[in-house]
Amino acid sequence: MNRRHFLGTTATAVGAAFAADMTRLNVLSSPALAAELKAQHKGCILLWLAGGASQLETWDPKPGAPTGGPFRSIQTAVPGVQISELMPKMAQRMKYTSIVRSLNTRNADHGTGAKLMMRGRKDEANLKYPDLGAVLAKELGRADSQVPDYVSFYSATEGRDFAPGAAGFLGARYGPMELSKSNIPENIRKLEAISELDHKERADLRDLLSKQFERGRQSGTLGSHNEAYQRVRGLMASEKLFDIEQEPQKMRDRYGKTQFGEQVLIARRLVEAGVPFVRVGRAWWDSHGQNFETHQEMVPELDHVMATLIDDLKERGLLEHTLIVTLAEFGRTPGINASLGRDHFASAWSSSLTGAGIKGGVAYGKSDATGNRVAEGEVGAAELFATIYRSLGISHQKNYYVGSRPVPLTEPNTKPIKELLA
């Protein structure tokens, strides 16, 4: 009996199951199935503004103040809320977005600031905390998922090593698939020397032998082993999710030709297919010189891509299940230096939250007239992360266990910003 004949009876069934999972996007074309899937799955896209975008040139303008710079503020669609004139598209969509203008995170160093704002807390000497992506991969990922749970794009080289994805004590299972050189994962394609049929049959043979071996045995290790193979097959099949050629040209045009636009479009494809967390790192905003020129160049791109993402998610019925976060390691000084730059600043800066369980149109907290201090509603990384978790239906005080030690998701007594929660 040859191998091909031996596997004949099982190949069709296994292959069908495999194909169903890898074409989740096609499944979404069925309205009933799509609605059910959308209702089940929450996701988060983090727009990571690496290097530190200026709050004064985005979410918290101070026109006319000595520190305000040259940009004007514009009225948004929400009465009383104004943002920088560099963000006219987001101004029109402010009813979906809330701003936190009172972050005081007390850390204006790129490296440690980035770790803090990716994890929501500082590591302890003997305890490495998981970052937001790892926590959401664990909380929102499906056990049987065959798509990655945590994908991170960071193509520019500057600052990439400051905050690599980190699963901390959750372990490598929840670590990120990091994409830095290409928008499509490398090394997940099957070898060209192996045909599609051969590839499938090898998997079937392995599956069959495993089942025979499993008979009469109780083995968690074997289960994990099989699960790992299933995930690898899923990841191999997920390549098309990363391929924007699969998107209609009209949709690609909407996001624009920039790398950031393309990666955010892929992030939407991934979230739609069930990936719970995608970080799109847009570096590098560290405008010590020529701050206004830099922001004039980069903020319109952020404005356009973020507004397009909101529209796209909304049109697909995904916005109420998908959280969009803009965040960085810190903001920028209100003081303008001699090179017309702004420097590192963590005492009064801004983030934005859109979609999922977030109430739109709220500008929470205030910085003072010059932007140097928080005047009202001071919050730190813990409160912001608690709000993110809660907006995605996760208790921010949920305990994980490291050995027998209970470790809550956020520091004890941390309160989410209730004003932002729908």
Partner: protein
């Protein structure tokens, strides 16, 4: 009067919280400045204790000033041009001139027209007497080759008032016929623009200053050379000079002493030297002898300089910079 850059010395230093972006001086010695407090002000730098006297204001930084007789035209990041009567100290008119930041305003020597350049990538020519727009000069792309918004920083008018030059972020230069608004020629200075596709994925630089020689045959172009770390202005201050009719670069001064942007270029009235001023964290002034093809004087200045104005004789220079207005002299 002969000048000697070697004898350059400071004679007045006025400090203030403002960033001063633009400065013009009248033949009679009056000085007007545009600044980060959104105002246009007059200041007498010959007095012991100079004071800023507000003429009026914009709704953002005032970055361009041009003088023609008693008419002063100011331009700002609010996209507006404002005409002022400096004899009566009154506003004449306000024009919504551009939909983006106005970077520079220049007036022709004959006093008939002014040019404004802005980040809408259009240069507009205005009749000074009436405020009527005479020409729209469109020759600069709105987007960089990497699909980001571009900027149109610099303009100059030839001494004979026949030509206009404009220069943008990616190093593209257009020479225009001032009378007809027609494009005369195009030049390229790509060394002024740095796009970082790998480390930081944005750009910096651009042509920040232009000046025609007194005979109108040469066009000087100022900016900054290639920068490795675009978080800072760490590239060398760069000047190129073109024989614009031939379309050839005749001089290249890549900079050997100072980092930063050359924000202002101005020829000595008789062409003895070319002055460049600018800065990064601090400032510099440079004098180039075009015949000898070398910098004859390079002086560190205390602050980043955004603008400068020579006296008619060329003996004194007034500088506008970060928190400072200064007067320097170089009498032979």
């Amino acid at each position: 009067m002969p000048t000697n850059p070697e004898k350059l010395k400071s004679v007045k230093d006025f400090t203030h919280k403002n960033v001063f972006f633009a400065l013009v001086r009248t033949p009679a010695g009056r000085t007007f400045v545009g600044s980060s407090d959104f105002k246009v002000s007059e200041i007498d730098l010959t007095t012991a204790k100079p004071e800023l006297k507000e003429l009026g204001g914009h709704q953002s930084y005032v970055t361009g000033l041009a003088l023609a007789g008693d008419t002063l035209i100011s331009g700002g990041y609010d996209g507006k041009l404002i005409w002022w009567d400096i004899a009566k100290k009154t506003k004449i008119r306000e024009v919504d001139a551009h939909r983006k930041w106005i970077r520079k305003v220049r007036a022709s020597r004959d006093g008939k027209f002014a040019v404004s350049v802005a980040d809408d990538m259009v240069a507009r020519v205005w009749e000074i007497a009436t405020g009527k727009m005479l020409h729209e000069l469109r020759g600069h792309k709105e987007m960089t080759p990497n699909d980001f918004v571009s900027m149109l920083y610099a303009c100059a008018i030839s001494p004979g008032s026949k030509l206009i030059a404009t220069g943008d972020k990616v190093g593209h230069i257009v020479v225009w016929d001032a009378q007809t608004g027609a494009k005369v020629t195009e030049l390229e200075a790509p060394g002024m623009y740095t796009w970082d596709p790998v480390q930081r994925r944005h750009s910096i630089g651009g042509i920040r200053s232009l000046a025609f020689s007194p005979d109108g045959l040469q066009l000087a172009v100022g900016g900054v050379g290639k920068i490795s770390n675009i978080d800072h202005l760490d590239g060398k201050a760069r000047v190129e000079v073109f024989d614009w009719k031939a379309g050839k670069r005749s001089h290249e001064f890549p900079g050997d002493k100072f980092n930063g942007l050359v924000n202002h270029l101005e020829f000595h009235p008789k062409g003895e030297w070319l002055l460049g001023a600018g800065g990064a964290n601090d400032g510099f002034v440079m004098f180039f002898d075009l015949n000898a093809k070398k910098a004859v004087k390079q002086e560190k200045m205390p602050v980043h300089l955004h603008d400068a104005a020579l006296s008619e004789s060329g003996e004194s220079i007034q500088f506008a910079g970060h928190g400072r207005l200064m007067v320097w002299e170089m009498k032979a």
